[in-house]
């Protein structure tokens, strides 16, 4: 009578009526992922030209997008931790440094930051090299992918700092006090007591940052990085089929973001049970 409907009640109801007791829970969102993948496959099969050709053409761009996203994100996790701890530091200098960093970065559009790192930063290095007579610096050539990763990391690191800061602050003060009263240093208390609890709190927003970073990585196409978006543009400019090209590019991004969202949900769920 007061039966609680389960999230995936259709499947389990069917199994139950068949006399099968199901312990497997199918997340209905997976359906959407599968649907988009099927759509891509159907398009490629039904009309290999241009869809399949196009997909093959941009596949190296997909790899670049993944590389930039993943490596930036790993660096963002580290930079954000330092930024977040800096924003909570009792040392005024460190606090000021972290705050200035966060405020400056958050006040500038990501696209402008990426352009700055690719065009302005190498020029600055060259100037310095020239004026100091250091040949290595004067000959400095910017690597587009490296600069894109730097740009994405610096920008997202600022937002991540604030997420970490909020997460750490959400842990009751008593936890730190208990740890300190037992003789732990501030560092030990952070590492063993506060951060493990804060990580659980920040998991959902951190997951969102990953997906946002993945989408924003398309901006690096402007600074000479041959990512998915740029390869899409290259394909279109030779084949003149904007509808097919940009539909396919959009679908590929969609698959990646949907998959990421499932991954994030999975990690969140696991971290709830496993303590």
């Amino acid at each position: 009578m007061a039966e609680q409907p389960e999230p995936s009640s259709n499947g389990s109801k069917l199994l139950r009526t068949l006399g099968v007791e199901s312990t497997m829970r199918i997340d209905p969102w997976w359906g959407l992922v599968v649907l988009v993948i099927i759509l891509i496959v159907v398009l490629c099969v039904v009309s290999a030209d241009p869809f399949w050709n196009m997909l093959r053409f941009v596949s190296d761009g997909i790899l670049i997008t993944v590389i930039i996203t993943v490596s930036s994100f790993v660096l963002v996790l580290v930079l954000g931790l330092f930024g977040g701890l800096g924003r909570l530091s009792q040392n005024r200098f460190i606090y000021a440094l972290a705050t200035v960093y966060v405020e400056i970065v958050r006040g500038i559009p990501l696209l402008v930051q990426l352009i700055w790192w690719y065009y302005a930063f190498p020029a600055v290095i060259k100037e310095v090299g020239n004026s100091l007579g250091i040949q290595v610096l004067a000959d400095y050539q910017a690597n587009p992918i490296a600069m894109a990763i730097v740009g994405m990391t610096v920008c997202y690191g600022a937002y991540m700092s604030e997420i970490y800061r909020a997460g750490i602050q959400s842990i009751p003060r008593g936890q730190m006090e208990a740890a300190r009263s037992l003789g732990m240093t501030r560092f030990q208390a952070m590492r063993h007591i506060i951060l493990p609890q804060a990580i659980r709190v920040v998991l959902p927003p951190v997951g969102n940052e990953f997906i946002a970073l993945l989408k924003d990585s398309s901006l690096v196409s402007v600074v000479a990085v041959t990512d998915l978006t740029r390869r899409g543009r290259e394909y279109m400019s030779t084949h003149f089929n904007p509808i097919e090209t940009w539909t396919m590019v959009a679908l590929v991004y969609l698959v990646m973001t949907l998959l990421s969202a499932r991954g994030v949900a999975w990690i969140e769920k696991r971290s709830k049970f496993e303590r």
Binding site: P172, G174, Q175, L182, G183, R275
Partner: protein, 246 residues
């Protein structure tokens, strides 16, 4: 009956929070093995006094010496804190760790004990506070009384010389107060040095060597329990009449 030398020496300590003058020249000596019970109205500075003893709060003036180490120039406050266990009103168990790990972690990190030794000590102490069967539970799965007993065990695992209790039973349902007080009584009998902020007058009568009334940041009266309960001081009488009718 306690003739030991003072293990805590508090001399004319002042503490301000902005414009609030929370401690106004408090002096107090606690001898080894002594049980001191502190009472006083809310906001009178009891917690602040207790928290100054392990420097969770830093005092502005005066001096505190714990076990021969002056907190003024304690280079490593963590060394002093290892000797002082503190039990809070809100238990403050580490929420992400099981009961056992709550007791083991600090031993390993601070005392550098092996995992086996830490676990053995932890289980002994859980037995002592009467909850040997909850080692694998998480704090949230325990009642308040059980949590507070775990918190006491966690503090004891560090082999402190002094235990500070800040209203350890005031967040508990009435039926759980006794189980915590019993553990504290045992500790007192074993000769632990204890400074206890509590309005449990039954405990004070049974365990206290000395009672102290704090009001507006100052010690108003200080006496052995018999004399304290028979006090002629107006403020003591007024406050006792309130807590005895709770």
């Amino acid at each position: 009956m306690n003739s030991g030398e003072p293990i805590i020496q508090i001399k004319d300590v002042h503490k301000h929070f902005g414009r609030v003058h929370a401690l106004r020249g408090v002096s107090l000596d606690v001898r080894k093995g002594e049980v001191v019970v502190i009472i006083g109205p809310s906001g009178s500075g009891k917690s602040t006094l207790l928290r100054c003893i392990n420097r969770l709060e830093e005092y502005d003036a005066g001096n505190i010496v714990v076990d021969g180490i002056s907190l003024d120039n304690a280079k490593n406050i963590n060394i002093v804190r290892q000797e002082i266990g503190m039990v809070f009103q809100s238990f403050n168990l580490f929420a992400h760790l099981t009961v056992l790990k709550n007791l083991v972690l600090t031993q390993r990190v601070v005392r550098k004990r092996s995992n086996e030794e830490s676990e053995r000590i932890a289980l002994e102490l859980l037995n002592k506070v009467g909850i040997p069967d909850k080692a694998e539970a998480f704090p949230i799965q325990l009642s308040g009384g059980q949590q507070q007993r775990v918190a006491i065990a966690r503090a004891l695992a560090m082999n402190p010389k002094i235990m500070l209790f800040d209203e350890p039973t005031s967040a508990l349902d009435p039926e759980m107060i006794k189980e915590v007080l019993d553990v504290m009584l045992d500790l007192a009998k074993e000769g632990m040095t204890m400074v206890v902020v509590s309005h449990e007058m039954g405990f004070a009568r049974a365990a206290a060597d000395r009672m102290i009334l704090v009001d507006e940041g100052q010690i108003v009266e200080e006496a052995v329990p018999d004399k304290f309960f028979a006090s002629t001081n107006e403020r003591t009488k007024l406050f006792l009449s309130k807590v005895l009718h709770m």
